[in-house]
């Protein structure tokens, strides 16, 4: 948090002149709202082991900011805590969407993940990444406080590994 910036860090650039394959991992959440901090925590783990070309972005999940983070990416991975009906706390989920995939977008978007708005907007503006993969963990505590509940904390390793598997492909 307090480390000095070393030159500029350009995150989420939609610079289309960048010919390289752009890969971004977006950790959605806030570390001061208990289980909502799981996204940023996974990102902290990833920071230690991902190759330099992988961009890591912490986001609050607001749709315009998500789009800014993933536009132009060949692969975007989103990591997030979610609330599920009939929940199993700590259970992991993985959804993959590609740019042209209409039916799956509908399934996650209506009344579903807040991500739905970002996906709907990105599709309308032709700003979807080539591939979008969502890694989610069912969580329970979203009030103010620092620290994950035990089941969610236990899932951080599995979530991180799942993201790394997608990055390896």
């Amino acid at each position: 948090m307090n480390e000095p910036a070393d030159g500029t860090v350009r995150i989420g650039s939609a610079d289309e002149s960048d010919a390289e394959r752009r890969v971004v991992v977006i950790g959605v959440g806030n570390e001061f709202r208990r289980d909502d901090g799981v996204g940023p925590q996974v990102l902290a783990r990833l920071r230690e082991c991902v190759p330099a070309f992988v961009q890591l972005v912490v986001s609050d999940g607001e749709p315009a900011r998500l789009i800014e983070a993933w536009a132009g990416a060949s692969l975007a991975l989103v990591v997030d805590a979610i609330r599920a009906q009939a929940a199993t706390i700590g259970r992991l989920h993985r959804f993959e969407l590609d740019r042209d995939d209409v039916d799956e977008v509908r399934a996650v978007s209506s009344h579903g993940l807040g991500l739905g708005d970002a996906i709907g907007l990105a599709r309308a503006l032709d700003l979807m990444p080539d591939r979008l993969v969502v890694h989610a963990v069912e969580a329970t505590e979203f009030g103010y406080g620092v620290g994950l509940t035990p089941e969610v904390a236990a899932a951080v390793g599995g979530l991180t590994a799942a993201v790394l598997r997608d990055l390896a492909d």
Binding site: F32, R33, D60, P63, Q85, A86, H93, V108, G120, L121
Partner: protein
Amino acid sequence: MTHRADRTLVTKGLARVEGEGAMYVRVNAGQVEEVRLDIYEPPRFFEAFLRGRSYTEPPDITARICGICPVAYQTSACQAIEAVCGVSLTGPLADLRRLLYCGEWISSHALHIYMLHAPDFLGYPGAVELAQDHREIVERGLALRRTANAIMATIGGRSIHPVNVRVGGFYRAPTASELAPLAGQLEGALELALETVRWVAGFDFPDFSCEHELLSLRMPGSYPIERGTLVTSGGLEFTPAQYEEHIIEEQVPHSMALHARLAGHSGHIMTGPLARYTLNSQWLTPLAAQAASAAGLGPTCRNPFQSIIVRAVEMVCAIEEAIRLIADYQQPARPFEEATARAGTGHGVSEAPRGVLYHRYELDAAGIVRSARIVPPTSQNQGAIQEDLRGFVQDRLDFDDHSLTHACEQAIRNYDPCISCATHFLDLRIDRR
């Protein structure tokens, strides 16, 4: 705030989407007897969490309170702590602070205008539907944000939660040649912002005037953004150190809501673009002033519906300021002023996109935070919004609950409260007797 959009997985059937805001209306024999609005959560967790931390930490920690305006939190926090340490930024460091803040204004206002507010005026449920019909309009908003993000990334080190900000200034100050490329982007953004003012000026605006006491900062000669003294529409002027003598925050019974009023007055106060504009329009930058006039705004504006025009004008102003600051910039010898911890209490204010943001910190001799107080703009505005909604609801009692909820959400969006990120955020309960 640190509100989060509720993210709920649908397994089978519809998920319950929880509202982040609650509103209660009691109607008796066709008259609205009571309206209670609770859309804001006081940052008490952060005020407590900061106790025992070092004086260097509040800017980074409080930046987490709001995803939309981290720079505002960093700035008010830095200025409060700098006040304890006897430090005041001048010259290029002060310019960098204002320039970074301009980036945040552009970003936040573009988001609110294009994604949240314009859809309401154009009859769309949200930005997605607006984009499906008018892609180029929403692309204009995103293009403005790209320029804003470039400013924040260049100076702040990241466009999300800038890491380059510290008490006394910055960890690293950019060179003039690092800032130069932003000038070209800003010229393009200026055209888009002027187009934005022309576009929103053509919307249909209901007649409505709010008569609350207005509160903003003032920096004579400049439009107030990153610092200033405090002024009210009633003619009061006071320093940040006097904030708590003049602005009283009271907890409303049976609610999390806090309502702010001016000491010695019974009415509510309101802060934000309408207050800034009404109290400082004579100091708008030239093109912003012209655009405001062409849009039909007089020297003051008290119609919350027309706040969308004011935000667009403020975007033009922030862009003109950014262009000027970059043109005049010379890299400082050192990226920060040394701020040595000492015992004392410091107060800091800045104009977040949504209004005056006040921080106060008490430090001990070792620079440890003994107490903190943070008063965001939405906290100050909640009482005023509630009062305005009373009349709004009275005129719409024939609406069914679903339509009334939607109408109230739209009305609340006029005030751009911190939670308006969510399209559906209001849990409205109506008690009809």
